[in-house]
Symmetry: C2
Subunit: 178 residues, 2 copies
Protein backbone atom coordinates (compact mmCIF):
# COMPACT_ATOMS: atom_id res chain seq x y z
CA UNK A 1 0.00 0.00 0.00
CA UNK A 2 1.32 3.42 -1.00
CA UNK A 3 0.92 5.18 2.31
CA UNK A 4 1.60 8.90 2.48
CA UNK A 5 1.15 11.45 5.25
CA UNK A 6 -2.29 13.06 5.50
CA UNK A 7 -2.57 16.63 6.80
CA UNK A 8 -4.11 16.52 10.28
CA UNK A 9 -6.61 19.20 9.29
CA UNK A 10 -8.14 16.81 6.75
CA UNK A 11 -8.53 13.80 9.01
CA UNK A 12 -12.20 14.61 9.70
CA UNK A 13 -12.95 14.00 5.99
CA UNK A 14 -12.02 10.35 6.49
CA UNK A 15 -14.11 9.68 9.60
CA UNK A 16 -17.08 12.04 9.25
CA UNK A 17 -18.82 9.81 6.65
CA UNK A 18 -19.12 7.16 9.39
CA UNK A 19 -17.18 4.12 8.13
CA UNK A 20 -16.61 0.96 10.10
CA UNK A 21 -13.06 1.10 11.46
CA UNK A 22 -10.52 -1.40 12.72
CA UNK A 23 -8.91 -0.20 15.94
CA UNK A 24 -5.53 -1.64 16.86
CA UNK A 25 -3.99 -1.57 20.32
CA UNK A 26 -0.81 -2.89 21.89
CA UNK A 27 0.59 -3.13 25.41
CA UNK A 28 3.64 -5.13 26.47
CA UNK A 29 3.81 -8.25 24.30
CA UNK A 30 0.09 -8.24 23.47
CA UNK A 31 -1.66 -6.57 20.62
CA UNK A 32 -5.14 -6.68 19.19
CA UNK A 33 -7.48 -5.41 16.51
CA UNK A 34 -11.21 -4.89 16.82
CA UNK A 35 -14.11 -3.69 14.69
CA UNK A 36 -15.86 -0.52 15.78
CA UNK A 37 -18.57 1.72 14.37
CA UNK A 38 -19.46 3.93 17.31
CA UNK A 39 -17.18 6.91 16.72
CA UNK A 40 -17.50 10.62 15.95
CA UNK A 41 -15.37 13.65 15.18
CA UNK A 42 -15.22 16.15 18.04
CA UNK A 43 -12.78 18.78 16.76
CA UNK A 44 -11.10 19.61 13.44
CA UNK A 45 -7.65 20.56 14.74
CA UNK A 46 -6.05 18.94 16.49
CA UNK A 47 -8.25 16.18 15.07
CA UNK A 48 -10.15 14.84 18.05
CA UNK A 49 -12.19 11.66 17.90
CA UNK A 50 -14.53 10.05 20.39
CA UNK A 51 -15.47 6.37 20.38
CA UNK A 52 -17.19 3.74 22.50
CA UNK A 53 -15.15 0.60 23.06
CA UNK A 54 -16.71 -2.12 25.21
CA UNK A 55 -15.17 -2.78 28.58
CA UNK A 56 -15.73 -6.51 27.90
CA UNK A 57 -13.33 -6.46 24.97
CA UNK A 58 -9.69 -7.52 25.12
CA UNK A 59 -8.81 -4.23 23.45
CA UNK A 60 -10.24 -2.26 26.37
CA UNK A 61 -7.46 -3.36 28.72
CA UNK A 62 -4.75 -2.71 26.15
CA UNK A 63 -6.13 0.76 25.45
CA UNK A 64 -6.40 1.68 29.12
CA UNK A 65 -2.85 0.49 29.71
CA UNK A 66 -1.13 2.03 26.68
CA UNK A 67 -3.40 5.02 26.13
CA UNK A 68 -2.68 4.69 22.42
CA UNK A 69 -4.36 3.15 19.40
CA UNK A 70 -4.53 3.28 15.61
CA UNK A 71 -7.85 3.81 13.84
CA UNK A 72 -7.63 2.03 10.48
CA UNK A 73 -10.26 2.40 7.77
CA UNK A 74 -11.01 -0.72 5.72
CA UNK A 75 -12.94 -0.90 2.47
CA UNK A 76 -15.04 -3.47 0.62
CA UNK A 77 -12.04 -5.73 0.05
CA UNK A 78 -11.61 -6.15 3.81
CA UNK A 79 -15.25 -6.99 4.56
CA UNK A 80 -14.47 -10.52 5.71
CA UNK A 81 -11.70 -9.28 7.99
CA UNK A 82 -14.10 -6.73 9.49
CA UNK A 83 -16.51 -9.51 10.41
CA UNK A 84 -13.77 -11.77 11.77
CA UNK A 85 -12.43 -8.95 13.97
CA UNK A 86 -15.93 -8.13 15.17
CA UNK A 87 -16.90 -11.66 16.09
CA UNK A 88 -13.77 -12.98 17.82
CA UNK A 89 -11.94 -11.91 20.93
CA UNK A 90 -8.21 -11.28 21.06
CA UNK A 91 -8.23 -13.42 24.20
CA UNK A 92 -8.74 -16.48 22.00
CA UNK A 93 -5.80 -15.94 19.67
CA UNK A 94 -4.14 -13.51 17.31
CA UNK A 95 -6.83 -11.85 15.24
CA UNK A 96 -4.45 -10.32 12.71
CA UNK A 97 -3.58 -13.74 11.32
CA UNK A 98 -7.16 -15.03 11.65
CA UNK A 99 -8.40 -12.06 9.65
CA UNK A 100 -5.52 -11.97 7.17
CA UNK A 101 -4.44 -8.51 8.27
CA UNK A 102 -0.80 -7.41 8.29
CA UNK A 103 0.36 -5.24 11.21
CA UNK A 104 2.91 -2.58 10.27
CA UNK A 105 4.90 -0.43 12.69
CA UNK A 106 3.43 3.02 13.35
CA UNK A 107 5.52 6.15 13.74
CA UNK A 108 4.33 7.69 16.99
CA UNK A 109 2.39 5.01 18.85
CA UNK A 110 2.99 1.40 19.83
CA UNK A 111 -0.17 0.03 18.20
CA UNK A 112 0.30 -1.11 14.59
CA UNK A 113 -1.08 0.27 11.34
CA UNK A 114 -2.90 -2.28 9.17
CA UNK A 115 -1.25 -2.73 5.78
CA UNK A 116 -4.52 -3.55 3.98
CA UNK A 117 -6.41 -0.44 5.14
CA UNK A 118 -6.39 2.64 2.88
CA UNK A 119 -6.11 5.04 5.84
CA UNK A 120 -4.64 4.82 9.34
CA UNK A 121 -4.75 7.34 12.17
CA UNK A 122 -2.27 7.16 15.02
CA UNK A 123 -3.99 8.29 18.21
CA UNK A 124 -3.30 9.12 21.83
CA UNK A 125 -6.02 8.97 24.47
CA UNK A 126 -6.61 12.44 25.90
CA UNK A 127 -9.74 12.03 28.01
CA UNK A 128 -11.15 9.02 29.84
CA UNK A 129 -13.81 10.83 31.88
CA UNK A 130 -16.57 9.22 29.81
CA UNK A 131 -15.22 5.69 30.23
CA UNK A 132 -16.85 4.74 33.51
CA UNK A 133 -20.35 5.66 32.37
CA UNK A 134 -20.25 5.03 28.62
CA UNK A 135 -16.93 3.27 27.75
CA UNK A 136 -16.36 6.52 25.85
CA UNK A 137 -12.79 7.52 24.98
CA UNK A 138 -11.57 10.80 23.52
CA UNK A 139 -8.38 10.56 21.46
CA UNK A 140 -6.23 12.98 19.50
CA UNK A 141 -4.93 11.97 16.10
CA UNK A 142 -1.19 12.68 16.18
CA UNK A 143 -0.28 11.32 12.75
CA UNK A 144 -2.36 10.26 9.77
CA UNK A 145 -1.68 8.13 6.71
CA UNK A 146 -3.69 7.67 3.58
CA UNK A 147 -3.32 5.93 0.23
CA UNK A 148 -3.87 8.80 -2.18
CA UNK A 149 -4.55 6.39 -5.03
CA UNK A 150 -7.90 5.68 -3.36
CA UNK A 151 -10.07 8.58 -4.50
CA UNK A 152 -13.50 7.19 -3.71
CA UNK A 153 -12.98 4.62 -0.95
CA UNK A 154 -15.65 1.91 -0.88
CA UNK A 155 -15.94 2.11 2.88
CA UNK A 156 -18.26 -0.15 4.89
CA UNK A 157 -21.10 1.23 7.03
CA UNK A 158 -22.71 -1.18 9.46
CA UNK A 159 -26.49 -1.55 9.53
CA UNK A 160 -26.49 -4.37 12.08
CA UNK A 161 -26.14 -8.15 12.01
CA UNK A 162 -23.66 -8.38 9.15
CA UNK A 163 -25.49 -5.96 6.86
CA UNK A 164 -23.14 -3.33 5.51
CA UNK A 165 -23.87 -0.41 3.26
CA UNK A 166 -20.98 0.03 0.84
CA UNK A 167 -20.05 3.62 -0.02
CA UNK A 168 -21.72 4.66 -3.25
CA UNK A 169 -21.21 7.57 -5.66
CA UNK A 170 -20.13 11.03 -4.61
CA UNK A 171 -22.15 14.17 -5.28
CA UNK A 172 -20.87 17.71 -4.95
CA UNK A 173 -22.93 20.72 -3.95
CA UNK A 174 -21.91 24.33 -3.44
CA UNK A 175 -21.37 24.66 0.27
CA UNK A 176 -19.39 26.65 2.81
CA UNK A 177 -19.63 23.82 5.34
CA UNK A 178 -16.13 22.69 6.16
CA UNK B 1 -44.63 10.15 4.26
CA UNK B 2 -45.84 6.86 5.75
CA UNK B 3 -44.32 7.19 9.18
CA UNK B 4 -44.59 4.23 11.56
CA UNK B 5 -43.09 3.59 14.98
CA UNK B 6 -39.61 2.07 15.03
CA UNK B 7 -38.64 -0.22 17.92
CA UNK B 8 -36.16 1.63 20.12
CA UNK B 9 -33.83 -1.37 20.08
CA UNK B 10 -33.34 -0.92 16.34
CA UNK B 11 -32.57 2.79 16.35
CA UNK B 12 -28.80 2.17 16.24
CA UNK B 13 -29.24 0.58 12.79
CA UNK B 14 -30.31 3.98 11.47
CA UNK B 15 -27.46 6.05 12.91
CA UNK B 16 -24.54 3.63 13.07
CA UNK B 17 -23.86 3.91 9.30
CA UNK B 18 -22.98 7.57 9.90
CA UNK B 19 -25.48 9.60 7.83
CA UNK B 20 -25.72 13.36 7.82
CA UNK B 21 -28.69 14.31 10.01
CA UNK B 22 -30.97 17.33 10.39
CA UNK B 23 -31.43 18.22 14.05
CA UNK B 24 -34.50 20.22 14.99
CA UNK B 25 -34.94 22.19 18.18
CA UNK B 26 -37.62 24.43 19.66
CA UNK B 27 -37.93 26.68 22.70
CA UNK B 28 -40.68 29.18 23.34
CA UNK B 29 -41.76 30.63 20.01
CA UNK B 30 -38.47 29.83 18.26
CA UNK B 31 -37.51 26.73 16.39
CA UNK B 32 -34.63 25.73 14.19
CA UNK B 33 -33.09 22.99 12.08
CA UNK B 34 -29.40 22.39 11.51
CA UNK B 35 -27.17 19.97 9.64
CA UNK B 36 -24.90 17.78 11.71
CA UNK B 37 -22.55 14.89 11.01
CA UNK B 38 -20.61 14.56 14.25
CA UNK B 39 -22.69 11.95 16.09
CA UNK B 40 -22.26 8.43 17.42
CA UNK B 41 -24.26 5.67 19.08
CA UNK B 42 -23.34 5.16 22.74
CA UNK B 43 -25.81 2.49 23.90
CA UNK B 44 -28.30 0.13 22.23
CA UNK B 45 -31.11 0.37 24.78
CA UNK B 46 -32.26 2.81 25.76
CA UNK B 47 -30.84 4.14 22.51
CA UNK B 48 -28.26 6.71 23.54
CA UNK B 49 -26.66 9.09 21.08
CA UNK B 50 -23.83 11.58 21.46
CA UNK B 51 -23.28 14.56 19.17
CA UNK B 52 -21.27 17.74 18.89
CA UNK B 53 -23.31 20.86 18.22
CA UNK B 54 -21.45 24.16 17.95
CA UNK B 55 -21.97 26.69 20.70
CA UNK B 56 -21.98 29.38 17.99
CA UNK B 57 -25.13 27.96 16.43
CA UNK B 58 -28.64 29.26 17.03
CA UNK B 59 -29.68 25.67 17.78
CA UNK B 60 -27.27 25.49 20.71
CA UNK B 61 -29.32 27.93 22.78
CA UNK B 62 -32.61 26.24 21.92
CA UNK B 63 -31.18 22.85 22.85
CA UNK B 64 -29.75 24.06 26.16
CA UNK B 65 -33.06 25.69 27.01
CA UNK B 66 -35.46 22.92 26.00
CA UNK B 67 -33.18 19.91 26.53
CA UNK B 68 -34.99 18.25 23.64
CA UNK B 69 -34.41 17.71 19.93
CA UNK B 70 -35.36 15.52 16.99
CA UNK B 71 -32.68 13.82 14.91
CA UNK B 72 -34.06 13.50 11.36
CA UNK B 73 -32.32 11.47 8.66
CA UNK B 74 -32.49 12.88 5.13
CA UNK B 75 -31.63 11.09 1.91
CA UNK B 76 -30.40 12.04 -1.56
CA UNK B 77 -33.63 13.88 -2.35
CA UNK B 78 -32.97 16.31 0.51
CA UNK B 79 -29.36 17.10 -0.45
CA UNK B 80 -30.09 20.73 -1.23
CA UNK B 81 -31.95 21.19 2.05
CA UNK B 82 -28.98 19.67 3.90
CA UNK B 83 -26.67 22.27 2.40
CA UNK B 84 -29.09 25.14 3.04
CA UNK B 85 -29.46 24.12 6.69
CA UNK B 86 -25.70 23.77 7.06
CA UNK B 87 -24.82 27.13 5.57
CA UNK B 88 -27.39 29.43 7.12
CA UNK B 89 -28.13 30.42 10.69
CA UNK B 90 -31.59 30.31 12.24
CA UNK B 91 -30.83 33.81 13.53
CA UNK B 92 -31.27 35.11 9.98
CA UNK B 93 -34.71 33.65 9.31
CA UNK B 94 -36.74 30.47 9.26
CA UNK B 95 -34.64 27.72 7.75
CA UNK B 96 -37.55 25.30 7.31
CA UNK B 97 -39.08 27.46 4.61
CA UNK B 98 -35.69 28.40 3.13
CA UNK B 99 -34.84 24.70 2.80
CA UNK B 100 -38.30 23.55 1.76
CA UNK B 101 -38.69 21.36 4.83
CA UNK B 102 -42.03 20.77 6.52
CA UNK B 103 -42.09 20.67 10.33
CA UNK B 104 -44.56 18.16 11.80
CA UNK B 105 -45.53 17.89 15.46
CA UNK B 106 -43.63 15.24 17.42
CA UNK B 107 -45.23 13.02 20.07
CA UNK B 108 -42.99 13.40 23.09
CA UNK B 109 -40.86 16.47 22.51
CA UNK B 110 -41.45 20.08 21.49
CA UNK B 111 -39.06 20.03 18.53
CA UNK B 112 -40.65 19.05 15.21
CA UNK B 113 -40.19 16.03 13.01
CA UNK B 114 -39.33 16.79 9.38
CA UNK B 115 -41.93 15.47 6.96
CA UNK B 116 -39.44 14.88 4.13
CA UNK B 117 -37.02 12.74 6.18
CA UNK B 118 -37.42 8.95 6.08
CA UNK B 119 -36.60 8.59 9.79
CA UNK B 120 -36.99 10.81 12.86
CA UNK B 121 -35.80 10.25 16.43
CA UNK B 122 -37.35 12.18 19.30
CA UNK B 123 -34.66 12.83 21.91
CA UNK B 124 -34.18 14.17 25.41
CA UNK B 125 -30.83 15.49 26.60
CA UNK B 126 -29.53 13.33 29.45
CA UNK B 127 -25.96 14.53 29.95
CA UNK B 128 -24.34 17.91 29.32
CA UNK B 129 -21.06 17.28 31.12
CA UNK B 130 -19.19 17.24 27.80
CA UNK B 131 -20.66 20.53 26.60
CA UNK B 132 -18.24 22.95 28.19
CA UNK B 133 -15.16 21.26 26.75
CA UNK B 134 -16.44 19.75 23.49
CA UNK B 135 -19.99 21.03 22.82
CA UNK B 136 -20.80 17.34 23.28
CA UNK B 137 -24.37 16.36 24.20
CA UNK B 138 -25.67 12.94 25.21
CA UNK B 139 -29.33 12.31 24.39
CA UNK B 140 -31.73 9.42 24.82
CA UNK B 141 -34.07 8.52 21.99
CA UNK B 142 -37.54 8.29 23.54
CA UNK B 143 -39.53 7.66 20.37
CA UNK B 144 -38.53 6.73 16.84
CA UNK B 145 -40.28 6.89 13.48
CA UNK B 146 -39.34 5.39 10.17
CA UNK B 147 -40.84 5.04 6.72
CA UNK B 148 -40.75 1.28 6.22
CA UNK B 149 -41.17 1.68 2.46
CA UNK B 150 -37.57 2.88 2.40
CA UNK B 151 -35.58 -0.37 2.44
CA UNK B 152 -32.20 0.92 1.30
CA UNK B 153 -32.11 4.61 2.22
CA UNK B 154 -29.80 6.67 0.01
CA UNK B 155 -28.39 8.54 2.98
CA UNK B 156 -25.79 11.30 2.65
CA UNK B 157 -22.34 11.06 4.23
CA UNK B 158 -20.31 14.26 4.34
CA UNK B 159 -16.72 14.26 3.09
CA UNK B 160 -16.22 17.99 3.55
CA UNK B 161 -16.93 21.16 1.53
CA UNK B 162 -20.13 20.00 -0.11
CA UNK B 163 -18.86 16.57 -1.12
CA UNK B 164 -21.26 13.85 -0.05
CA UNK B 165 -20.96 10.11 -0.43
CA UNK B 166 -24.39 8.69 -1.24
CA UNK B 167 -25.19 5.31 0.33
CA UNK B 168 -24.46 2.52 -2.14
CA UNK B 169 -25.39 -1.15 -2.31
CA UNK B 170 -25.81 -3.37 0.73
CA UNK B 171 -23.79 -6.52 1.31
CA UNK B 172 -24.62 -9.19 3.89
CA UNK B 173 -22.09 -11.33 5.70
CA UNK B 174 -22.57 -13.97 8.38
CA UNK B 175 -21.96 -12.16 11.64
CA UNK B 176 -22.91 -12.26 15.29
CA UNK B 177 -22.22 -8.55 15.65
CA UNK B 178 -25.39 -6.82 16.70
Amino acid sequence: MARTACALGRVYQLLEPGPVVLVTTAAGARRNVMTLSWHLMMEFEPPTVGFVLSEDSFSFGLLMKSRECVINIPTRAQARAVVVCGNRSGRDGDKFSAAGLTPVGARQVGAPLIEQCYASLECRVTDVRGVRRYNFFVVEVVRAWVDRAVRAPRTLHHRGWGRFMVAGPEIRLRSRMR
